[in-house]
Amino acid sequence: MGYSFPEEVLEHVFSFISLHTDRNAVSLVCKSWYEIERWCRRRIFIGNCYAVSPGIVIRRFPEVRSVELKGKPHFADFNLVPDGWGGYFYPWICEMARAYPWLEEIRLKRMVITDESLELISKSFKNFKVLVLSSCEGFSIDGLAAIAANCRNLRELDLRESEVEDLSGHWLSHFPDSCTSLQSLNMSCLLSEVSFSALVRLIARSPNLKTLRLNRAVPLEKLSTLLHRAPQLVELGTGAYSAEIRQDLLSNLTEAFAKCKELEGLSGFWDVVPFYLPAFYSVCSRLTSLNLSYATIQSPDVTKIITQCPNLQRLSVLDYIEDTGLDALSLSCKELRELRVFPSDPFVADANVALTEQGLVSVSEGCSKLQSVLYFCRQMSNSALTTIAKNRPNLTCFRLCILEPRAPDYQTLEPLDHGFGAIVDHCKQLQRLSLSGLLTDRVFEYIGNRAKKLEMLSIAFAGDSDLGLHFVLSGCESLRKLEIRDCPFGDKALLANVSKLETMRSLWMSSCSVSLGACKWLSQKMPRLNVEVIDEQGDLDSRPDSCHVEKLYVYRTVAGPRLDMPSFVRTMNQNPAYRR
């Protein structure tokens, strides 16, 4: 073999390669590239915290600066994963505190992190800069106070959608006066009030602050004070957007918004009083991102806003926008990439708003750059889905939730197989798909045959038999995450596709027809899978192999069965009594 480049040169070349998948590919070229790459990898992404152990990660990658970890399965968002399931950050921070003194960034999603862990973070890393806790839980304001007090160079603190125990409420004042490095602060999930004076002082001494997301408790009357201190903001999340009707308040707020020449993104908008909406009209022409999904404002008000936002790329709204608002969106917002429409009244069967499949069809017609859709509605048809598919072959993410399970095509009363079939047929780059409505095995045949780039698939109340699951497992080459609930899928498809499961990150199946015996068999056959059965009824030991498991979570791992499970989670094959 010929000589290779000096290590330093290769390292320099590798420094331009940032995508995790590319890095992984580089490391597989040859042993020396593996060695060089592992010493210069600075960012780690671990999609399932149980797929690998902290020790293995640290041994392979000794010089990491940024760690991203995900814990609970996605369906935990919808209360399908019982409390205490796992996803603890503590074992990771214990080892990283020792091994990575130069760690700068920690990003966690759906993990449990305690105040103790937060304190450890704040004291272990001299150069700690970024903490993002997305949909996490297990900590309180005290933990935040430790971060504020000890992280001298903190740049980003983002608590998006985490559950924080608000005990004392006063943590902002723990940021020392010398801390001027803050660029991003997202505290929108906090329920209790923060000290306003501490907040103002913090903002005033943070000249690089670009993102500020307030929590609901920050009153509208005080928003202009904050904006005056931070006119350089690029992203703003308001607090509650309501106040008594006062002309002077409106003028102040309008003036404050007008001074923010860099604003591109808005969010917040709880409890909107429409009287105050015009205050931010002056920034609309610049807006690329708008989250009105907490704003209970009606279609005319929503429409008035979005028709002033020609540069809008991302929009989240409630279904109050209605079809008329979506028509206006399709005409006004030609740069739209991502649309999310949430239901205002998800538990009422009958429509409370005039939003139908037509709204989505309009947007698919008018917004040629639309790539990502999340749409809750109450009716859908195969023809509408086909139209959407033909209009928008560039879709990469299509998540449709028809509120009524197993709802058929409302016009023909047929299943929606053909409609979703058209989606996977036309949208060849589709990476993420969520199905709903009445669906037979046929739709899975379409998906298995056509959705070759599909990485994540969510299925609920669909299919007729194991054949459906078999089509997906045997056909979808790029599949990484599969989550299924309430489908008549049983043992056959699973056991016919065992090796597929090792090519995926994880499989979730709840309220399906998988037997305990099949779980045991799968676990024995595939030692590098953790086959976890979640069963809250207890007495799993005394159940016959033929009984169906409540919930099944299968994931590939090099770390073996985990040791932190609660009593209602059992990894198959762990207990010697189950071995043949």
Binding site: F78, N79, S135, R216, P274, P300, P343, D350, N352
Partner: protein, 204 residues
Amino acid sequence: MSSEISNITSEPPNTDAVTVGSLNINDTELTLGLPGESRKLVAKRRFSVITDLKLGGNHRSDSIITKNSPSKEQLVGWPPVRSYRKNMTKSDCKYVKVAVDGAPYLRKVGLELYSGYQQLMCAFEDLFSCLAIKNVSNEMKLMDPVNGTEYVPTYEDKDGDWMLVGDVPWKMFVESCKRIRLMKNSEAINGSGMHNSQIFETTF
């Protein structure tokens, strides 16, 4: 008199109109579209209007429930809306439902967001875009300019009585209002001195 229409269903009405007093039952028939739009009767879908009409002297509440009304809360985790988001959309503000005669969709208004009746009327104008405020002396009415139909805002109070919106001080109204109905006023107010509450009695 009241027993003839004791069960108002959403099926297409019979050709012979059933009337109670001067209220033609066809006026309350449920169709697609808001008042003012052309109407289509669709047999397949079922709508529901949640209204308690006090008919005759019995004060019987006749609620109209369709087969679709059972709530979805029995299914865990469905629809897939995060509980974080569920908590967020609820607010402390008192939201009441607003029904308009002839429209299948209810809206909600947050009463505490407004400081008076005038703003509430403006909100109705916004919510039901085909209606416009019609100012007749100090009476509050909305009108559909397309066909001249008038709508009178009424509300159900804490005692279950249906009252005219506007009679009591605003704060008292906000406190006692349970829901609102914009009632079609088939009888024109011709300024003959007929008191509002008398109209109320004869149309029921």
